[in-house]
């Protein structure tokens, strides 16, 4: 999949970023009297008009509960909800739609796996392997599990450039390892990990793998069958879709064997006070009324991504990353954190004499939205001996002009602090 990331060849001539921008109404906003340069996409992406319309249309035309009523609206809502599941299946190239479970977000997807698969599989003295560049959401659920089970959390270290120590990964995949949970792409460093090879290595030792695709899934094509992982998680709001809707992909045979997560309506086949039998996949893992509008909106968002195409998106974003990296390197005192060979769309940086929080406030006044702080990845910050970074993160609609706006805003920071 790294091939799709290279800047050069993949760019399709018809990709027109200014045309794309017209689809995203919020990008027309002014902030503090300046045009908005939205460079906080790793936190959440903006939504195209088609997604906004889909949410509104759902509530205007066929809002109803799913999998229940016999009336027309319920049938339409159920159809739209299940059509969205099929869209997600196609997007990930999963084998079957029942391998797609809707959740609230990637965090819930990971917790679902930890509380069901994890609890059933991990026992005293066992190990769960993660990496040193995980988001807190792919650390804390495993910590809770390990504490509960008397198991041990092992961590693959990273290099100064922000790459995984693959030799250490192989070494740490030991006889006690019951599960590996690795990020496809680091939210703090931009590093893209060679997950396909990592999954193969783990499988050779009988270790199942969960891949956190929160950051990767909106930048590059993901094919879960090609990857071969047992689990892949994503969150809708980073995929140009609504908040509150997430995805857990799980291999059917694995999901079948897992106990349910939350108990309630929709996840049951029959309930008596003596015993409950559970519904079939994927409904076994979808207790209660789901975020129907969110799922419908996510389906439309994925269709939007597909219509633009990952070759075009990755081509544009990689060229912009190279442009932005050069632009930041020209600002005196700026140091980029995370310089992996394979990286995408994220520029974490620190600046001599200026704390990231102050950088964030000053560039905001210039209309430039970036994230500052530890990015929910405190272990990464500790690894580099810094309390925080400033982070600019790109999406398909960002332009060179916005990078220029960031660079000149950083000159303002220098005027204040240097």
């Amino acid at each position: 999949m790294s091939g799709a990331l290279r800047a050069s060849s993949a760019r399709q001539p018809e990709f027109d970023v200014y045309r794309i921008r017209e689809d995203f109404p919020v990008l027309r906003r002014q902030v503090h009297g300046k045009p908005l340069a939205y460079l906080d996409n790793a936190a959440t992406t903006q939504k195209p008009q088609a997604v906004i319309d889909a949410l509104s249309r759902y509530y205007r035309e066929f809002n109803s509960n799913v999998h229940r009523g016999v009336h027309l609206l319920s049938e339409e809502a159920t159809q739209a909800f299940e059509a969205a599941r099929e869209t997600v299946r196609r997007f990930l190239n999963a084998r079957a739609a029942q391998e797609i479970v809707f959740t609230r977000n990637a965090t819930e997807s990971i917790n679902l796996v930890a509380y069901t698969f994890g609890r059933a599989r991990v026992g005293a003295g066992d190990e769960v392997l993660i990496t040193g560049m995980e988001h807190h959401s792919n650390i804390v659920p495993w910590q809770i599990l390990c504490e509960e089970r008397g198991a041990r959390l092992r961590v693959v270290p990273i290099t100064d450039e922000g790459e995984l120590r693959l030799d250490e990964y192989e070494r740490l995949l030991g006889p006690r390892t019951k599960l590996a949970a690795v990020t496809h792409m680091s939210n703090a460093l931009g590093t893209v990990n060679p997950v396909r090879a990592m999954i193969a290595t783990a499988h050779a030792r009988g270790v199942p793998v969960l891949v956190d695709g929160s950051q990767a899934a909106y930048h590059m094509r993901v094919d879960v069958q090609e990857l071969g992982c047992e689990f892949y998680v994503m969150t809708g709001h980073k995929l140009y879709g609504p908040t509150g809707i997430g995805v857990l992909y799980g291999q059917e045979a694995v999901l079948e064997r897992m106990p349910p997560f939350l108990g309630g309506g929709d996840m049951i086949a029959e309930v008596t006070f003596e015993k409950t039998t559970y519904n079939e996949l994927p409904h076994k893992f979808e207790a209660g009324t789901p975020h129907i509008a969110g799922a419908v909106g996510l389906g439309v968002a994925l269709d939007y991504i597909t219509s633009v195409g990952f070759d075009a998106i990755a081509g544009h974003e990689q060229a912009l990353l190279a442009y932005a990296t050069a632009a930041l390197a020209r600002v005196p005192g700026v140091r980029i954190i995370g310089t992996a060979r394979e990286k995408s769309s994220i520029l974490s940086f620190v600046m001599d004499g200026a704390h990231p929080h102050d950088i964030g406030t000053i560039v905001d006044r210039e209309g430039v939205a970036i994230r500052t702080g530890h990015h929910c990845a405190q272990p990464v910050m500790r690894r580099y001996g810094i309390p925080a970074t400033a982070r600019a993160s790109l999406a398909m609609y960002n332009t060179r002009e916005e990078i220029d706006a960031l660079a000149s805003a950083l000159e303002k920071v220098r005027e204040v602090f240097c």
Binding site: H355, P356, H357, G373, P387, K412, V416
Partner: protein
Amino acid sequence: MSDLKDLYQEVILDHNRHPRNYHGLDDATQRADGYNPLCGDRLTIYLKIENGVIRDASFEGSGCAISKASASLLTETVKGKSVQEAEALFHRFHDMVTSPPDSPTDFSDLGKLSVLEGVREFPVRVKCASLAWHTLRSAVAAKDETVSTE
């Protein structure tokens, strides 16, 4: 009005570059740690209190310009003040940084501390300015724990 110059006044930049009383305190009678999880700011405040009077104050830590300058100004201000006076300053300071941006106010009685008045124009930065003050309170109460702005 909500100009960056209101926030980053020269006095603040100076205290950020050259924080006063920026060291540990061997004869401290109390200390407390403060932490702002939003931005990762951490600081430790040391106090030497005798007969209810703050004889000496210092701090260490890392943080943004606002939190560092606020801590630096705090240590200068509370030296020689009684514990009760420091507590009154805490409330007065808190009122200043949390008052609505357009409300007519006069905080000149806070002296040098009033350079932080501009913070009220930047609501997300209020915690940066108040971290040191929350930590001071904790140190006075000699609660040996990390206070958090959350």
